[in-house]
């Protein structure tokens, strides 16, 4: 389990889960650490039909077709080759999502210009029904993001669910058109393995920035 900050703190639920687990003999296997740097050459990237050399624990195993704010179609795995910051958001969000962009920007600001050039940023909408290419374009202009190195992108609803699942992000549509979602900045290495995540909003998380630098140093390919 990751992202402790987002886990239920409802003591009764926890206790109930544990009680149920005991009662059922639920054998929770140790959750595979998504950050585990153990690419296994013996495992093929069969699930995704992508390059066999892709690490089996890469986010890029997921075949997702996206469209960016300029209407360019691309596949998630096309981002392979350099480290990436990935996040999920929705453009009509008034409170947290603007801060998410601020935080991504602040994180980048801690890097040198050369480092920044080697880092991609991808923000994927959890609200594809409303976040059309035009809406994303407007938001990208409004926030003056550095396209195409930064991209705001959309995909279909089923793929949003899968991408969130791969990234360990929870989200839920509310009846009033808003969404609940966990806020997370996720760092992928050049092969799409999750290296670090941060849910700190506002000023950049120093530990996270350090991971970004180290990952950039480890290089692109």
């Amino acid at each position: 389990m990751h992202a402790n900050d987002t886990r239920p703190r409802f003591a009764a639920s926890r206790a109930a889960t544990i009680a149920a687990a005991l009662a059922l003999g639920v054998a929770m296997s140790a959750p595979a650490s998504s950050a585990s740097p153990t690419p296994s050459a013996s495992k093929q990237a069969a699930g995704a039909g992508t390059a066999a050399a892709l690490p089996t624990n890469s986010v890029y195993q997921l075949p997702v077709a996206l469209t960016d704010q300029d209407g360019r179609d691309f596949r998630l795995a096309d981002r392979r080759g350099k480290p990436m910051l990935v996040s999920m958001f929705y453009s009509s969000c008034q409170f947290v999502c603007p801060m998410l962009i601020d935080t991504l920007r602040d994180t980048e600001s801690k890097l040198g210009a050369g480092e920044r050039e080697q880092l991609g940023v991808l923000m994927v909408s959890i609200d594809p029904a409303h976040d059309t290419v035009a809406v994303l374009k407007q938001k990208a202009n409004e926030r003056a993001i550095a396209t195409p190195r930064w991209a705001m992108a959309r995909t279909d609803a089923a793929s949003v669910r899968k991408l969130a699942a791969v990234l360990g992000i929870q989200y839920r549509a509310l009846a009033d058109g808003e969404f609940n979602h966990t806020t997370a900045l996720i760092l992928l290495d050049a092969d799409g393995r999750i290296v670090a995540r941060s849910s700190q909003l506002g000023n950049a998380d120093p530990a996270f920035v350090l991971k970004v630098r180290q990952t950039l140093e480890a290089g692109s390919h």
């Binding site: 059922l24 699942a165 989200y171």
Partner: protein
């Protein structure tokens, strides 16, 4: 003797057939040709055990067809043979953890004679979703699952009945020392079986269950944690059996698998 087995034995086969036949009478809409083994559920309203600040009104559930039983080991065996990328020795770690199908004798077969009719477990969310997609469907949403699971043999919503609640809760207190029972328990009013008493089940939007710690007080302890309004409030605190499912699902990652977590599929029919 586990409660659910007692319950099964208490109902003669002929009566079970009759109940199943009656349940089939609810089929009023043409199915979009789902695989066999699905039953139709009509549209309806659901007051979920979950409720956020913004959605305490009953949910409207569109009609859908649901597998009458969880996917079995035998069925998943055939799926893995047809889609070998889902063998445990080939699946990318992103989609399934080390526990995936671990109890199978070999990478492409369960290997235990006589267990084909048990529900498959040790499957990740991705594997379950892939299975349902191969059948032309998907996993049920939490709301769809809860809607189906609110019914008993005669009522669409039996949740207000303390006896019904107690019966379901009884399963969760049953020690799980023996093998999983076979699928094919007593059908509910729609003809869906085994929603309670056999396994936990994945849902499509398991990662939508943002159960917040302080929903007991209704306060929003940390607005920064979630975009938009606060997390889910647990509206119906009497329904422990269903809330335990929410708590479990909300704690899982999509690549996790456990020995008591299975799944079934649905087809939207509207």
């Amino acid at each position: 003797m586990p409660l659910h087995r007692l319950a099964l034995r208490a109902v003669p086969t002929s009566a079970r057939r009759a109940i199943g036949w009656l349940a089939m009478a609810f089929v009023t809409l043409p199915l979009a040709a789902p695989a066999t083994g699905y039953v139709q559920l009509p549209a309806g309203k659901l007051t979920s055990v979950l409720a956020g600040d913004a959605d305490t009104a009953p949910l409207t559930i569109a009609p859908f067809a649901m597998r009458s039983t969880p996917v079995t080991k035998g069925e998943f065996h055939r799926f893995v043979r047809a889609h070998p990328q889902w063998r445990r020795d080939r699946v990318p770690a992103t989609f399934a953890d080390a526990g995936y199908l671990r109890a199978w004798r070999t990478a492409d077969a369960p290997g235990d004679a006589g267990t084909e009719a048990q529900p498959v477990t040790q499957v990740s969310w991705f594997a379950a979703q892939a299975y349902c997609e191969a059948e032309g469907g998907r996993l049920p949403t939490w709301s769809e699952w809860e809607y189906a699971a609110a019914a008993d043999a005669t009522r669409r919503d039996a949740r207000g009945d303390p006896a019904w609640r107690a019966r379901i809760l009884g399963w969760y207190a049953r020690p799980a020392t023996g093998p999983l029972p076979k699928v094919g328990g007593k059908p509910n009013v729609y003809g869906v079986r085994d929603l309670h008493g056999v396994v936990w089940e994945w849902v499509d939007d398991f990662n939508a269950l943002l159960v917040d710690g302080d929903s007991r007080t209704g306060k929003d302890p940390d607005k920064l944690k979630f975009c938009g309004a606060g997390a889910i409030n647990l509206q119906d605190r009497e329904n422990y059996a269903v809330l335990m499912r929410v708590a479990l699902l909300s704690s899982l990652n999509a690549s996790d698998s456990t020995g008591s977590l299975g799944f079934r599929c649905v087809h939207p029919t509207h």
